[in-house]
């Protein structure tokens, strides 16, 4: 809810879903590459962090009922939905897909581990935090999720078959902000741990 307020968006009636592609994925300790051409483009130069609780699918499933959702979840992890914010704002204004801003290489750090459902207990009561160079920028609790995980899985499996290992990220709280090369991001969720990634400027071989 707090992130919806900060972006001045309407409160959605249904979950707002978008895909990230697998080229985004990096794990704990790997660098987030700041694309050179975005860094050198005045119009597009802004890339943001967004810490999120993610869950990983256990088995192939479709039409999952909310009350059975946890049977299909292998566990929980931390996901950082890195976003080229100005490209996204421009594309949204033109009613275009969110692909360019979301799917860049390394824009999906994940980890540091997958914690099983039984160890987490209630996934809707976990502190969630993001530090930029040691300073707290995002600080919330997963209890503020608008769509809870069971409802979310019921909603998305009306549309798509999920496969083992598929990753579903549940959205970010308020406090989003820009990163620059040299920054260190530490994304933490209670009972899961901390995902650390350094931002480096892309070196373009010419």
């Amino acid at each position: 809810m707090d992130h919806i307020e900060e972006t001045k968006l309407e409160v959605p009636k249904e979950p707002v879903l978008f895909p990230k592609t697998l080229n985004c994925l990096i794990s704990d300790g790997e660098p987030i590459i700041y694309p050179n051409w975005i860094f050198n483009n005045r119009k597009y130069k802004r890339v943001d962090y967004e810490v999120e609780l993610a869950f990983v699918i256990k088995d192939k499933c479709k039409y999952v009922k909310a009350n059975k959702a946890y049977d299909h979840i292998l566990g929980y992890t931390i996901f950082n939905d890195i976003t080229a914010r100005k490209i996204q704002v421009k594309d949204i204004a033109s009613r275009l897909p969110w692909f360019r801003s979301k799917a860049l290489d390394t824009f999906g750090p994940i980890g540091p581990r997958i914690v099983e459902h039984r160890e987490i207990g209630d996934p809707h009561n976990l502190k969630i935090e993001l530090k930029l160079n040691g300073e707290i920028k995002q600080s919330s609790n997963t209890k503020h999720l608008l769509f809870k995980i069971p409802e979310l899985l019921e909603n998305i499996t009306q549309f798509f078959t999920m496969e083992p290992g598929d990753i579903v990220a549940t959205g970010t709280p308020s406090g989003i902000g820009p990163i620059k090369p040299g920054d260190i991001l530490e994304a933490s969720i209670e009972k899961i741990g901390t995902l650390s990634n350094k931002v480096v400027l892309e070196e373009v071989v010419t």
Binding site: L22, P35, P97, L104, T161
Partner: protein, 225 residues
């Protein structure tokens, strides 16, 4: 893994171009893009020649969302991992060409777009990405921008154009796309649809054809829940 004719590919993503034929841009009243418009389809959409397209019951029974359209497209398959490649070497990174059907829940797409939402739900229902019937190597298609492209529903022509009308040609598309994402062997890139998009119904038979590639045939069936 998906077997297309005799070739098995293992794509990590499907990227589609929207608004890439001028006639289709006009029929949808969309502005002419200055840069390619990309969106993603997920791998659960893929079905091959002769497999049914499943019309989702939640769309069929929804007054608001009961419209699913065909969109025939030329697709190319990535040959090797690539990033930041320039247009003049693009064909070195293409394994071959095939036919792709970008099935779209049209009224859901419009309604999502009107409230500034991503083009995701409407494009990614299971079986909304028929592909095939084979992958034709680049050596057999010297110019991919001069192929007739056609779609029939129940034997009647609905889409009929030529790939020469593509706004962004394949080399430009690959140059632009590879600035954003690393492409991997087997990845599928669909290059947009010409005009003539129209709704389909359970029981319809769709035949999508591209010169030098062949025809894919799919029956539309209503989902049994």
């Amino acid at each position: 893994m998906v077997k297309i004719g005799k070739t098995t590919i293992n794509p990590t993503k499907i990227v589609c171009l929207g608004r890439n034929y001028l006639d289709h841009i006009k029929e949808t009243n969309a502005p002419v893009p200055t840069e390619p418009v990309f969106f993603v389809k997920t791998l659960n959409t893929l079905v091959t020649d002769n497999e049914p397209i499943v019309y989702p019951k939640i769309l069929y029974e929804s007054e608001k969302y009961n419209r699913v359209d065909h969109e025939v497209e030329l697709a190319f398959i990535i040959f090797q991992t690539c990033k930041n490649i320039s247009a003049d070497v693009a064909f070195d990174y293409i394994q071959g060409y095939t036919i792709f059907l970008d099935m779209t829940a049209r009224t859901m797409q419009k309604s999502d777009r009107n409230i500034n939402l991503p083009w995701y739900r409407s494009k990614n229902f299971d079986s909304f990405g028929p592909i095939g019937p084979r992958i034709v190597p680049c050596s057999e298609i010297s110019d991919p921008h001069n192929l007739s492209i056609q779609l029939k529903v129940n034997g009647q022509i609905r889409q009929s154009s030529n790939t020469k009308h593509m706004l962004f040609k394949i080399p430009q598309t690959l140059e632009y796309l590879s600035k954003f994402v690393t492409l991997k062997r087997g990845d599928i890139i669909a290059t947009g649809t010409p005009s003539g998009i129209s709704p389909i119904q359970p029981g319809d038979v769709i035949e999508a054809s591209i010169e030098k590639i062949g025809t894919i045939t799919h029956e539309v069936i209503l989902e049994h829940v």
